[in-house]
């Protein structure tokens, strides 16, 4: 009986503590309902900061976007905050510009914030190249928890330009205070919003980062002068390729050089890394035997069984494995 009472009191105290330390909360994240390619996109975010414990630093906001959009070149962000504690006083910050924080270091990982976000949250399940864009406010906030503990509400507007392609990808927003970063001494000091699928239409092509592709690479972004792993999935969501179930799958590939010469690499056994997954690391210039000074301008791959009687390919040339622009 006494033990039960103790547990009840303990749980009640824990609940109160959790409420006290839930310091940052997303009230809303509103993406445009029908975003278009080659257009300006505006996202509106409302964040609530409850200064119950000592928190200082610049307001940090990060989100995921396709790399091809080069968001860092077009992004503009403003925020207004009511009841913000600055230098021991409550003020209202209005129309405060936010700046990129690429060279800003996250204190617990000591990595630049964009790398730290990748390390903490990954790429949110995207199967194409995406990046974390990290912004920070210019005003240094002192949320020291003293006095009346007012709630600070920050309204943020982030604008950036979309790319020319139709695209589907996952995104989410993360926020924290710069001095705290990913510190987990207390709960709720950094937080990620719900992941949303963003679909951009009205452009060309059809990039879908929300589904697995039969062919992918590691790194996602690379150039033909790098080492790269070519990866093949023989079945996606019940859609089996002809090679599904094969224990031995071979990589076949061609490349085109800058002078138009087409080279074919050797048929090469891939490593089976799962029931349906295979990979092979190559150094393209050696794989195609083209020498160090040769310039490879494109590359296509297809997959076969040992005797070549079963082929999985795309179109007439194979799956395109493209390199990043310089």
């Amino acid at each position: 009986m006494r033990k039960n009472r103790f547990i009840t009191i303990f749980l009640a105290l824990a609940a109160v503590a959790a409420m006290v330390f839930s310091c940052i909360e997303f009230k809303s994240v509103i993406w445009p309902s029908d975003p278009k390619a080659n257009s300006e996109m505006e996202v509106t975010i409302q964040v609530q900061l409850v200064p119950e414990t000592e928190h200082n630093g610049h307001f940090v906001l990060a989100f995921v976007a396709p790399k091809s959009w080069k968001v860092s070149e077009t992004v503009q962000a403003t925020y207004s905050a009511t009841n913000a504690q600055v230098g021991g006083q409550l003020i209202t910050i209005t129309d405060e510009a936010m700046v990129l924080a690429n060279d800003y270091t996250e204190p617990t990982t000591t990595m630049p914030y964009s790398s730290a976000m990748l390390s903490q949250y990954g790429v949110l399940g995207n199967t194409g190249p995406v990046e974390w864009i990290v912004l920070r406010g210019t005003t240094y906030l002192n949320l020291d928890g003293s006095g009346t503990h007012p709630t600070t509400t920050a309204d943020v507007k982030v604008k950036f330009k979309t790319g020319p392609n139709n695209i589907k990808f996952f995104s989410a927003f993360v926020t924290c205070l710069s001095d705290n970063g990913f510190n987990t001494d207390h709960d709720g000091e950094f937080i990620i919003s719900d992941t949303q699928m963003i679909k951009v239409t009205g452009g060309s092509g059809n990039d879908d980062f929300t589904v697995l592709h039969y062919v992918s690479t590691t790194p996602q972004t690379f150039r033909y002068g790098d080492y790269v792993s070519i990866e093949f999935v023989s079945s996606i969501d019940g859609n089996d390729t002809a090679l599904y179930g094969e224990s031995q799958v071979y990589l076949n590939a061609t490349c085109t050089l800058a002078d138009g010469t087409v080279k074919e690499g050797p048929k090469t056994l891939m490593t089976r890394s799962g029931d349906e997954t295979y990979f092979k690391y190559i150094y393209p210039k050696s794989f195609f035997g083209v020498g160090q000074n040769a310039e490879i301008v494109d590359m296509h791959v297809w997959f076969t069984n040992a005797d070549g009687s079963i082929v999985v390919t795309d179109g007439t040339e194979g799956f395109e494995v493209s390199q990043a622009s310089e």
Binding site: S119, T221, Y224, D226, Y227, Y283
Partner: protein, 159 residues
């Protein structure tokens, strides 16, 4: 009771003797190591070849996938306890690691502890040819894509 006191005192004495046998090491003691040689050429072999990018920030070891990494060797010469020379054998690796040719003959170099991580610099042009990360000799470079970097880590043993 007297027996208990005797046992206690005996144990204390034994403990004091044992403590007296512990020798405090300091930096000078490293030169007393029978294997320490102030003038020596040490050979290093590639231990890990990490490929690092935005997604794989801790790096993926690609050494197991290419036999040619086994042939890569690095020799560091110490004279009077200081690093004075370096020699690299690229083995069968089909590409350069840096934007300049690796020295195939031993070249003069020096240890630079004014930078972090500490570096071995080529004396002729101050180019960094290797760095020390947590005591491990590393070569760090990009190849083609600026967002993909490589960290080759060396050990004294050929794995």
């Amino acid at each position: 009771m007297r027996n208990k006191i005797r046992v206690f005192l005996s144990l204390m004495a034994a403990a004091a003797l044992a403590c007296g046998c512990v020798k405090t090491l300091n930096l000078h003691d490293t030169t007393m190591d029978s294997e320490y040689e102030p003038d020596k050429v040490s050979t290093y072999y590639l231990w890990k070849a990490l490929q690092i990018d935005d997604v794989n920030v801790n790096g993926i070891d690609i050494k197991p996938y290419f036999d040619w990494f086994d042939s890569f060797q690095l020799e560091i010469r110490r004279t009077d306890g200081k690093i004075t020379g370096i020699k690299m054998n690229n083995g069968n690796i089909p590409h350069d690691m840096y934007g300049f040719n690796l020295p195939t003959e031993e070249v003069e170099c020096y240890f630079d502890n004014s930078v972090q991580p500490n570096a071995i610099r080529r004396k002729s042009d101050d180019q960094i040819v290797a760095v020390f990360r947590k005591g491990v000799v590393c070569m760090e470079f990009n190849m083609d894509c600026k967002t993909v970097s490589y960290r080759f880590m060396f050990s004294g043993k050929n794995n």
